[in-house]
């Protein structure tokens, strides 16, 4: 069955239990917006699903294949971390080539001007859009994106949203961001991570009721 199935994720940091028996299911065509206050464990959860962080208990499967290690996630789950991850010593053209991205990316309006420049020479926002396009256009069936709009100007935000929407029919996405309006604009299902657990959010009132937004 085509589905990213995440179950029984528990994570402790010392004596604090950050994540408590988390369950998430994501199908191709689904864009799940993951909201939560600072330090609630959004990034930790995405890293555990991706496989780069160990958890006390975890079950992750993609399209019926159980994923236990980072290597298992290759071409199944792609992850865009919160901070820039492009190798700073390589030109963008080379990065696109070795990452195995589609050649059409070379003609993208936001990528083309920077092809011969090293990623270290670009601004944080310019790097952010290029790495988001790399991850969104990867071969993976499921894409985890941690704060894609971080430090990005409004025009680039629209471009990132469009890139995600374009691939939505064939991939499943889990996206986090601190600005709930960005998440509400693109997601078709919203989850709130709070006190180690997940609850589904339907309306803005739900966010107020769960102390994510101020009551005003």
């Amino acid at each position: 069955m085509a589905e990213l199935h995440v179950d029984s994720i528990s994570k402790w940091f010392g004596t604090n239990q950050l994540l408590l028996d988390i369950f998430i299911s994501c199908k191709p065509g689904e864009l799940i917006g993951l909201l939560g206050r600072n330090g609630c464990g959004k990034s930790t959860l995405l890293k555990i699903i991706f496989g780069s962080l160990k958890a006390e208990t975890k079950f992750v499967s993609a399209n019926g294949t159980v994923l236990q290690t980072l290597g298992d996630a290759k071409n199944r789950i792609a992850y865009l971390p919160q901070n820039n991850f492009l190798p700073s010593h390589l030109p963008i053209k080379k990065i696109i080539a070795i990452f195995g991205s589609p050649k059409s990316l070379l003609d993208n309006l936001h990528v083309k001007p920077f092809l011969n420049r090293k990623s270290a020479e670009l601004s944080g926002g310019e790097r952010r859009i290029i790495e988001t396009l790399l991850i969104v256009n990867s071969k993976a069936d499921y894409v985890l994106i941690d704060e894609p709009f971080n430090g990005v100007e409004p025009l680039f935000k629209d471009e990132i949203m469009n890139a995600i929407q374009e691939r939505l029919t064939e991939k499943g996405f889990i996206v986090t961001d601190h600005d709930y309006r960005n998440i509400m604009a693109i997601s078709n299902k919203m989850l709130l991570l709070e006190n180690g657990g997940i609850r589904e959010i339907k309306t803005l009132d739900d966010l107020v009721r769960n102390n994510y937004l101020p009551d005003s």
């Binding site: 290690t69 980072l70 290597g71 996630a73 992850y79 190798p87 010593h89 390589l90 080379k94 990452f99």
Partner: protein, 100 residues
């Protein structure tokens, strides 16, 4: 995989060489005075993992995710560093021994 590992190691080549040479010279000026070339050979064994740790674990930890997304784990990346520097160090030592 080879292209990705080459890209990963590209960042380490020059600093590793510099540290290995520094270790070679340091060995020469020690009381037991190791020949410089021999010191550079042994220096590679130490400099490779040290520079890897400093460049990627301390300064650019996030760049690991570029390689993780292609299924390349830290074990593979550290393994490539160890093997590459073991080969380079051994080659220098072998050439030095033949020259002697």
């Amino acid at each position: 995989m080879i292209a990705l590992l080459t890209a990963f190691q590209h960042k380490l080549i020059l600093p590793t060489f510099c540290l290995a040479v520094a270790i070679g010279f340091a060995g020469y000026f020690m009381p037991w005075s190791t020949p410089i070339v021999e010191g550079i050979g042994f220096g590679y064994f130490l400099a490779g993992p040290l520079i890897h740790y400093f460049i990627y674990e301390v300064r650019n930890e996030n760049e690991y995710y570029f390689y993780f997304n292609k299924g390349i784990t830290k074990i593979i990346l550290y393994g490539s560093t160890l093997i590459l520097n073991l080969i380079l160090g051994s080659l220098i030592l072998l050439l030095w021994l033949n020259y002697m």
